[in-house]
């Protein structure tokens, strides 16, 4: 795959190594259901941090809470130093946070080009279409196709590609490898590694920790709506038994 020069992520660069996201005592509800029970973690600039956990542990809800698309949430979410717990999701996006949902969110009524161009640019530094086509050549050939007619892998590429256009510097990817063939997983892993190299900060939700291990700097384990453990990539081998127990694998 050709090396793509991605514009540097301004916020990440400005605060290299500093804390970009700090989540403290985050609680969230779906209607009457209490899902998150006091989540605490932080993400530093330029890191890839992975939330691991079983189905229903609260990983996706954590991402959605950060993005502001969960109706009721309490606690504190600080992004780039400012509190966003009460901020609407469109304003959070405009602060430079981008979200790629688990179900990919490809719009059936739009073709691939329209899907790609849909998110508005929130700050300078986003990828140009040419850079995106260098990263994901398949998309260039399918521009006129209906978004939902793409294969699962192509839809995932489209879902990631469209948030790279926006100039957002903090990317939240919810299970980007789910249901994909190994060769596509490898391609997505390479893309994440390249984005990290360029200074993007990435919060990843994964069940496939073998994939996460290839890209992540740190891990947090989510269980019953709480962070119950955390370790860095260098501590992964030492924590393997614990990890197997947590994930039930």
């Amino acid at each position: 795959m050709p090396e793509v020069k991605i514009a540097e992520a301004p916020t990440a660069k400005a605060a290299a190594g500093g804390e970009v996201l700090n989540v403290h005592n985050l609680e969230a509800w779906y209607g009457e259901s209490h899902i998150l029970h006091g989540v605490d973690f932080s993400v530093n600039a330029g890191e890839v941090v992975t939330l691991l956990g079983r189905n229903g542990a609260g990983k996706t809800t954590t991402l959605k809470s950060i993005m502001g698309i969960i109706g009721k949430r309490t606690g504190s979410i600080r992004f780039g130093g400012s509190e966003i717990i009460r901020t609407s999701s469109d304003r959070i996006a405009r602060k430079g946070v981008a979200f790629c949902p688990e179900e990919r969110g490809i719009f059936a009524s739009l073709d691939v080009r329209e899907n790609l161009l849909l998110p508005p640019s929130v700050r300078p530094g986003g990828l140009s279409l040419d850079q995106i086509f260098d990263l994901f050549p398949n998309l260039k050939e399918r521009l006129k196709s209906q978004g939902t007619k793409l294969s699962g892998g192509e839809q995932q590429m489209l879902a990631i590609a469209r948030i790279l256009r926006t100039g957002a510097t903090f990317l939240m990817l919810d299970e980007p490898t789910e249901g994909l063939a190994p060769v596509i997983i490898q391609q997505i892993g390479q893309t994440i590694a390249r984005l990290k190299k360029q200074g993007f900060t990435i919060l990843l939700v994964e069940q496939n920790f073998r994939f996460a291990a290839t890209v992540a700097d740190r891990y947090y384990i989510v269980e019953h709506g709480k962070i119950i453990d955390g370790f860095s990539n260098s501590e992964l081998q030492a924590n393997m038994d614990k990890l197997h127990t947590y994930l039930g694998v």
């Binding site: 993005m67 502001g68 698309i69 609407s88 999701s89 469109d90 959070i92 996006a93 405009r94 981008a98 979200f99 949902p101 969110g105 719009f107 059936a108 009524s109 739009l110 329209e114 161009l117 849909l118 998110p119 508005p120 929130v122 948030i163 926006t166």
Partner: protein, 287 residues
């Protein structure tokens, strides 16, 4: 034969109003999921607005074509912000009942002040008279209504289907939460969309003022047929509403010529047949 052409023209003119009104309903339903029963009342307000502009401020028809849809559109946006937005996520029935109530109140207020009889609105000087086409006499104003409506309908279709703004609207119809998470202010877009739909109704009202007199119940008479048009075309379908609007106007006109007794019911008979064969309408999406 001239009578047939005359009925065809009447059908095309009615079709123009059906298309403009059902287009507004389709835009509103697509984006807000609200069956806007207040549409007829807002159409009537467009006609009254043109009447007030002319008689109180001396503003002529051409300016009224621009100003009245803006004024009534703003009124619609206020309605959306203050009342309709609270219905998000509720069953369609709530929206239908609320907008039906709004229609009754608006019509009641106008009827209280202006009675039920019509107020005259003159055809602008530039559009008076007619043309002899050889096979029929075409009043210029009626020809203008058909062409102008067609242009407005196609422009609206282009806006929604072929522009970036339209892509936002279509995407927000599918998944408003995700579109908002991309940084787009969806609540504001919903308000503006309702304003656009209402503005189209008001525009139809201004166009109608010189043909049909300006009356408080002019919308109530029309809205039931327009809903039948929308059901036949398919709720939420933009092109479906435009084509069905014009087509049913023509079918109604032809029925007036060939079998006048059925002219008032032909649209509803077609609606029943379409619902039996294709419950989502000719071009509509499934719920």
């Amino acid at each position: 034969m001239q009578a047939l052409y005359a009925q065809l023209l009447v059908g095309l003119i009615n079709g123009s109003f059906y298309a403009l009104l059902s287009l507004g309903l389709a835009v509103i339903f697509g984006m807000l999921n609200i069956i806007n029963f207040a549409h007829g009342a807002l159409y009537m307000m467009g006609a009254f607005c043109a009447y007030f502009l002319l008689n109180l401020a001396g503003i002529n028809y051409w300016w009224a074509l621009i100003i009245a849809p803006i004024i009534v559109g703003i009124f619609g946006m206020v309605l959306e912000r203050t009342l309709l937005q609270w219905l998000t996520g509720l069953d369609h029935l709530y929206g239908l009942l609320l907008t039906f109530g709004i229609a009754l109140i608006v019509q009641g207020v106008f009827q209280n002040y202006f009675g039920s009889s019509g107020l005259p609105y003159a055809i602008p000087d530039e559009l008076r008279g007619g043309m002899n086409l050889g096979f029929m006499f075409l009043p210029v104003y009626r020809g203008w209504v058909v062409i102008f409506s067609l242009v407005v309908c196609l422009a609206t279709w282009f806006l929604i289907e072929k522009t970036r703004l339209g892509a936002y609207l279509r995407a927000a119809t599918e998944n408003p939460t995700l579109v908002r998470a991309f940084g787009i202010n969806v609540p504001r877009m919903i308000t503006l969309t309702y304003g656009l739909g209402v503005g189209l109704a008001a525009l139809a009202g201004v166009l109608s003022a010189p043909i049909n007199q300006v009356r408080p119940l002019m919308g109530a008479d029309l809205i039931i047929v327009v809903f039948a048009v929308v059901v036949i075309g398919g709720m939420g379908s933009i092109m479906g509403s435009i084509i069905t609007g014009f087509a049913l106007g023509v079918i109604e006109g032809l029925t007036k010529y060939f079998y006048p007794e059925a002219s008032n019911t032909v649209v509803f008979v077609l609606m029943v047949l379409v619902l039996l064969v294709k419950p989502t309408g000719l071009t509509g999406r499934a719920a």
